[in-house]
């Protein structure tokens, strides 16, 4: 098998394995479907060019996220895009929810969109990308204890949002 063919196979494997998660992550950092797809495509384009520098396949996900975050920062270094599409993006099993659950979900999504990036990003890395605290620490270049604090505060802000908007239930038990 030629080197180029091997590279293509390796690249396609990365695309199949991580493109959906990267899209979800991108969607939550930029809030716009077209921009999120653009970001992911640009990420993979850059990944393809630098594929030989990825020595350890286990580090692939973090490597791709790093590329995506850099690309996002580069593209929107002056002005962050407005969240426009999050509320309209479909979520699986929406129809199976009770009305109050649907409201709660909607509030959580709004809350997530309005979180300051320093809280939103570690939470996304944990919830959407499945990173542990140590991996988030390495990705964001901050200490693990700082990550723990950011994650705690992010969840607190989301719970507060639910409380302020009158959603009742066991969420309130946490306060």
């Amino acid at each position: 098998m030629s080197t180029e063919a091997e590279r293509n196979i390796r690249f396609e494997k990365l695309a199949r394995q991580f493109s959906t998660d990267l899209y979800r992550y991108a969607m939550w950092i930029c809030g716009n479907d077209a921009l999120a797809k653009d970001l992911v495509q640009e990420t993979y384009l850059r990944a393809l060019k630098a594929l030989d520098s990825l020595k350890n396949e286990k580090a692939a996900k973090s490597w791709l996220i790093t590329i995506l975050r850099r690309e996002y920062a580069r593209t929107f270094e002056r002005k962050a895009p407005k969240f426009t599409d999050i509320e309209s993006v479909s979520v699986q099993e929406d129809d199976e929810l009770e009305p109050d659950e649907r409201v709660e979900r909607q509030l959580l999504r709004q809350g997530m969109a309005s979180l300051p990036p320093r809280y939103r990003e570690p939470l996304l890395l944990q919830v959407v990308m499945g990173h542990c605290c140590a991996e988030i620490s390495a990705q964001l270049g901050v200490s693990k204890s700082a990550v723990m604090t950011q994650l705690f505060r992010a969840r607190e802000l989301l719970k507060k949002k639910l409380q302020e908007d009158g959603v009742t239930g066991n969420v309130h038990e946490l306060f």
């Binding site: 695309a15 939550w28 797809k37 699986q92 996304l124 723990m148 946490l174």
Partner: protein, 234 residues
């Protein structure tokens, strides 16, 4: 040293699904600890569910993967590259919307440039004919024997609108490439030229097929064969 309740709640807020031994020990240290862990887990489920953006679909994946299949630019594509740059400058559209071929003419030419010759090299009379029906079945298509007897190679391929099939077919004047695009419709038959090659577009109920060969191969003469042999199975 075990966590007190306040520390435990903070820990849950940061890492609610953690199940290392220390967390489990803390959780078992009292009913309020246990309840806090249950509540944190419930909240986490709601959060994960709320953040569950639907997957973007197979077409998006195909677009990403096509990046690696894209051929290196060759001189006669400088004109296309230039027009792409002009498009970017004029309309400000994002690169991925313009970097892929936008018209069927561009697509056919780029696709043939990419692997037309390579696949022609794979053409063989020993080709396993069961592959033909297997590939076409994935597109809900079938073929009559008249065409399948002439197919020397077939594979699925990306097209402008979903998946298609790339075939190497024996014509009366030598081997030709046929790119079948079930999701693409053109209004009428037409021939396009690129380099030394020409492609005849067959428009029919099942989509569009581009028959690609040299000018002396008279690819348009295969119109009826393709039109009559490829058909939808559902």
């Amino acid at each position: 040293m075990s966590m007190n309740f306040s520390e435990f709640k903070k820990f849950l807020g940061a890492d609610p699904l953690n199940s290392d031994p220390e967390t489990l020990r803390a959780r078992a240290s009292g009913p309020e600890f246990e309840q806090a862990a249950i509540d944190a887990s419930d909240f986490e489920q709601k959060l994960r569910s709320a953040l569950g953006v639907a997957a973007p679909g197979e077409e998006f994946l195909e677009q990403i993967m096509s990046v690696s299949r894209r051929p290196s630019p060759r001189p006669r594509w400088f004109a296309i590259a230039a027009s792409v740059l002009i498009l970017i400058g004029v309309s400000g559209v994002t690169w991925w919307q313009v970097n892929l071929p936008r018209t069927i003419e561009e697509y056919v030419a780029v696709h043939y440039e990419y692997d037309g010759m390579e696949l022609t090299g794979k053409a063989s009379t020993d080709f396993d004919v069961s592959t033909i029906s297997a590939v076409l079945a994935k597109l809900d298509m079938g073929t009559e024997k008249e065409l399948s007897d002439r197919i020397l190679f077939i594979k699925l391929c990306p097209t402008l609108n979903g998946r298609g099939a790339h075939m190497i077919v024996q014509s009366d004047r030598g081997v030709v490439n046929i790119i079948y695009m079930p999701g693409t419709m053109v209004e009428d038959q037409r021939t396009i030229e690129f380099g030394d090659m020409e492609a005849y577009m067959v428009a029919f109920e099942g989509g569009t097929a581009a028959i690609i060969g040299r000018a002396d191969q008279d690819v348009s003469s295969m119109d009826q064969l393709v039109r009559n042999s490829l058909s939808k199975t559902i």
